[in-house]
């Protein structure tokens, strides 16, 4: 039986905020805390100190990331911190490993972290992984490893900053705040969970092959500059306020049932006509522009939440990793993705999460999960709970 509790705060003082969070969830003697914050705290050592003081023990695993705001059962906020704490009463061992300065070799970093975890688990395969990393890392390179070399679900996302300033972000590993790093948590033991992902956006215009790309920077599509291609397909120039909301869907994403989105983030340092994406693409990829509509996003989340079958699975806690671009697009309805889920369970389901700069998770296709994929403009819902068969 997995127990969960969530809490959030808008206290500006880092120690006091984290102390409040720790104290709020300490009642279930958590084994792991998923921590999500905004980037406004000025002293992360103080923050971590407050969290552990609030928890009353240093033995709790902490993993998390900063985002463009926080999601929690009680609030969705532009500033503050939120936690989801889990306790399996010792049934699950939560293993954690990290790698720093990974930008140059993300694939190697993932492999090192997974090897570290495997060693901690004496070679056992975990039920799932939770992964967070820095948005400045090309997550498509992380994807190549988690997609092709890890057979269990990997869920997570890329840390972000405040309102797409693209300046800095944080990932959390136990008592540390890290930058340019990757942190993975392995659930070593019986964990019942469900993963729901929403990434159905309507494509517009005609597909085009990527002519030239270097990592996250794409310069040519369909014989023209990338920005010209987007402008041609959307009927308007790509503007600063479109960042994160105009998306390229990769049509030749991989195997059947696999679909990936890459949000466009125009970088003022990028040479004219090129576009920086939230994740890399390859020359030859066939892409099509998607322009999301708020109503489309809302309908999809409603559909996902309605499809949760509580006869089969009783959730006890939820993690939401949802693209910051969705939040920007939803505008005044930024709490919608949390409130819809909360309302489905009478306002009692502990929920925490963050608006991310890239999402990770397998899709559900033909009765099973696909390979682990890196997405943009996507809503990832991870439910911890208990299968009805237990």
């Amino acid at each position: 039986m997995m127990r969960a509790i969530s809490a959030s705060t808008t206290i500006a003082d880092p120690y006091r905020a984290a102390l409040h969070l720790g104290q709020s969830v300490a009642s279930i003697s958590p084994e792991v805390v998923f921590l999500f914050t905004t980037v406004h705290y000025n002293d992360w050592d103080e923050f971590m100190s407050g969290l552990y003081d609030g928890l009353g023990t240093k033995s709790v695993r902490v993993i998390g990331a900063s985002g463009d705001g926080i999601h929690e059962l009680q609030q969705t906020s532009e500033v503050g911190a939120a936690v989801l704490a889990l306790s399996s009463n010792g049934a699950v061992h939560w293993r954690l490993a990290m790698a720093s300065e990974i930008a140059g070799d993300p694939e190697g970093a993932v492999r090192r972290v997974v090897a570290d975890l495997a060693e901690q688990m004496n070679g056992r395969t975990p039920a799932l992984y939770f992964l967070v990393s820095d948005f400045r890392v090309d997550a498509s390179r992380i994807e190549t490893v988690i997609r092709d070399e890890i057979s269990v679900p990997v869920i997570g996302g890329m840390a972000g900053d405040d309102n797409n300033k693209m300046e800095h972000c944080c990932v959390f590993a136990d008592g540390q705040m890290l930058q340019g790093s990757l942190v993975m948590l392995a659930a070593d033991g019986p964990v019942d969970f469900r993963i729901h992902i929403g990434n159905a956006l309507t494509s517009v215009g005609k597909p085009g092959h990527i002519d030239s790309a270097n990592g996250k920077v794409v310069s040519g599509i369909a014989g023209m500059m990338a920005s010209e291609f987007v402008e041609q397909e959307t009927g308007k120039p790509f503007l600063r306020s479109d960042q994160g909301m105009v998306t390229l869907t990769i049509l030749n994403a991989g195997l059947e049932g696999e679909k990936k989105l890459r949000a466009v983030a125009k970088n003022i340092e990028t040479e004219a006509g090129s576009l920086t994406l939230h994740g890399g693409v390859q020359p030859g990829d066939l892409v099509q522009v998607c322009v999301a509509e708020p109503g489309e996003l809302i309908s999809e989340v409603q559909r996902i939440v309605e499809q949760i079958d509580t006869k089969d699975f009783v959730p006890s806690g939820a993690l939401i990793v949802s693209c910051a671009g969705r939040k920007w697009l939803l505008g005044g309805q930024i709490a919608f993705e949390v409130r819809t889920l909360a309302d489905r369970f009478g306002g009692t389901l502990p929920i925490a999460g963050f608006p991310s700069f890239g999402e990770i998770g397998p899709l559900w296709h033909n009765g099973k999960y696909t390979r682990n994929l890196f997405h943009n403009m996507t809503y990832v819902l991870l439910l911890f709970g208990t299968n009805a068969t237990h």
Binding site: E78, V79, R240
Partner: protein
């Protein structure tokens, strides 16, 4: 839930005796009772800036100090301590409210900063869009000017082209007129050719009877000169006179027949050239004209085995030249009787007629068809030519169909056509306006 901590033992009512730590001081709105406030600096040096709540110390008299908007220092007389917790309770609630307001203010500041940034992005986007729109407007204006220039060029070219076309039209009109003139010339030439052919035919036709007549007359004249000489010489013999009379008696019918034949040819020529002057225009019923032609035609048929039938009975009133129509029909019937049934032991000529409408004009279409031997293809193209006949010397003049053709075209304003297939008869169709021009 407000918390009350103290380092003083025994703890007053409502207070928890603790070893004070940073955690206690920063737990939220708290009330801390200590002997000396300076002790708090030893526990956590930054407490005055970050702590929320009330610090209680023991003093001689009631004293109050506000360190920050949410931290107060209160000195209480010893005897007030039992009621201190209840005294501070509401105070802490007020500080919590202040803290909440400060949090909201902080969040609002962040939101405002975000909004300001988003507004800045939006303003930049607006400026960029405006610049692009202005650039597009400039491009549109340039395109409009170019289009205008192009239009002017086009108009100029259209004007020039129109003038060229007008010239071409004039040239065409001139050419058309030239062509018409040439056509007229050709027609005249053709008429001359026809006339030549006519003259040749007439000459040929007249040559035989006149030549024969001339021979006979010359012979008679020679005989007469011999008779006259013998009479003058007084050597005239009875046998010579009788011979002359016998010759004259024999030659006279020949001479008469040939001269009559020549006269007949002349009469036909006269008819050909004078019908426009002699035909009388009137209104009439077509069936009566056809009946008249049929009655005349039946006489021309070689025997009872040959039939001439009228297959139509419609009442068609016409305005025109009934005699011309009758003459054409008689000619066609005669042509069938003479040429179509040659060598046959029987045959049938059928006449049908109907009213038609063509290009807004009421026409009458009269067909004369036979089931005779038909007309060879090479002859079919020539049957309306003057003096074309396969019966020269056998009573054919070669003018019957020619006259009929000309009457149909020039007098009646219609046309006469023929179709035939060997061994399957021939069909002549006379198409004329119901009201003649």
């Amino acid at each position: 839930m407000p918390q009350f901590f103290t380092t003083i033992s025994p703890a007053p009512l409502g207070f928890e005796l603790v070893d004070l730590t940073k955690k206690h001081l920063l737990s939220g709105p708290v009330c801390v009772l200590v002997e000396d406030e300076s002790y708090l600096s030893q526990v956590f040096p930054g407490y005055r800036e970050r702590m929320l709540g009330v610090v209680l110390t023991i003093g001689e008299a009631y004293q109050l100090e506000q360190a920050t908007p949410y931290l107060w220092h209160v000195a209480l007389p010893q005897n007030w301590l039992p009621s201190a917790a209840s005294l501070v309770q509401g105070w802490l609630a007020a500080i919590a409210g202040t803290d909440k307001a400060v949090q909201q203010f902080h969040a609002a500041e962040i939101r405002n900063e975000r909004l300001a940034r988003e507004l800045e992005y939006t303003r930049r986007d607006y400026n960029e869009l405006t610049q692009r729109l202005q650039a597009q407007l400039r491009e549109l204006a340039a395109a409009r000017d170019a289009l205008s220039a192009l239009n002017n060029q086009l108009e100029q070219r259209v004007t020039e082209r129109t003038a060229q076309l007008e010239d071409a039209n004039r040239n065409l009109s001139t050419a058309l007129e030239d062509l018409k003139r040439a056509q007229d010339e050709l027609a005249r030439t053709a008429e001359l050719v026809g006339l030549g052919s006519l003259v040749a035919g007439v000459a040929h036709e007249l040559n035989t009877p006149i030549g024969t007549s001339l021979t006979v007359a010359t012979s008679l004249a020679a005989e007469a000169r011999i008779l006259h000489q013998q009479y003058h010489d007084g050597a005239l013999k009875r046998s010579v006179v009788e011979g002359f009379l016998q010759t004259a008696e024999m030659m006279s019918p020949v001479l008469e027949r040939n001269i009559r034949q020549a006269a007949d040819i002349v009469e036909r020529l006269r008819q050909l050239t004078s019908y426009q002057r002699t035909e009388t225009r009137c209104t009439f019923a077509l069936s009566e004209v056809i009946d008249r032609a049929v009655a005349l035609g039946r006489i021309q048929l070689p025997g009872a085995a040959y039939q001439l039938v009228v297959e139509s009975s419609a009442l068609i009133n016409m305005d025109g030249y009934p005699d011309a129509i009758a003459q054409i029909l008689t000619s066609l019937i005669n042509n069938a009787a003479v040429h179509g049934f040659e060598g046959n032991t029987g045959g049938r000529i059928s006449i049908s007629y109907e009213e038609t409408h063509h290009e807004g004009r009421d026409d009458v279409c009269i067909s004369v068809c036979d089931d005779g031997k038909g007309i060879p293809k090479e002859n079919l193209q020539r049957i309306f030519h003057p003096f074309f006949s396969t019966k020269f010397g056998q009573g054919g003049s070669g003018l019957g169909l020619y006259v009929a053709y000309n009457k149909a075209q020039k007098l009646l304003g219609g046309k006469l056509t023929a179709a035939s297939e060997l061994a399957h008869g021939a069909c002549f169709v006379l198409t004329i306006p119901r009201i003649a021009p």
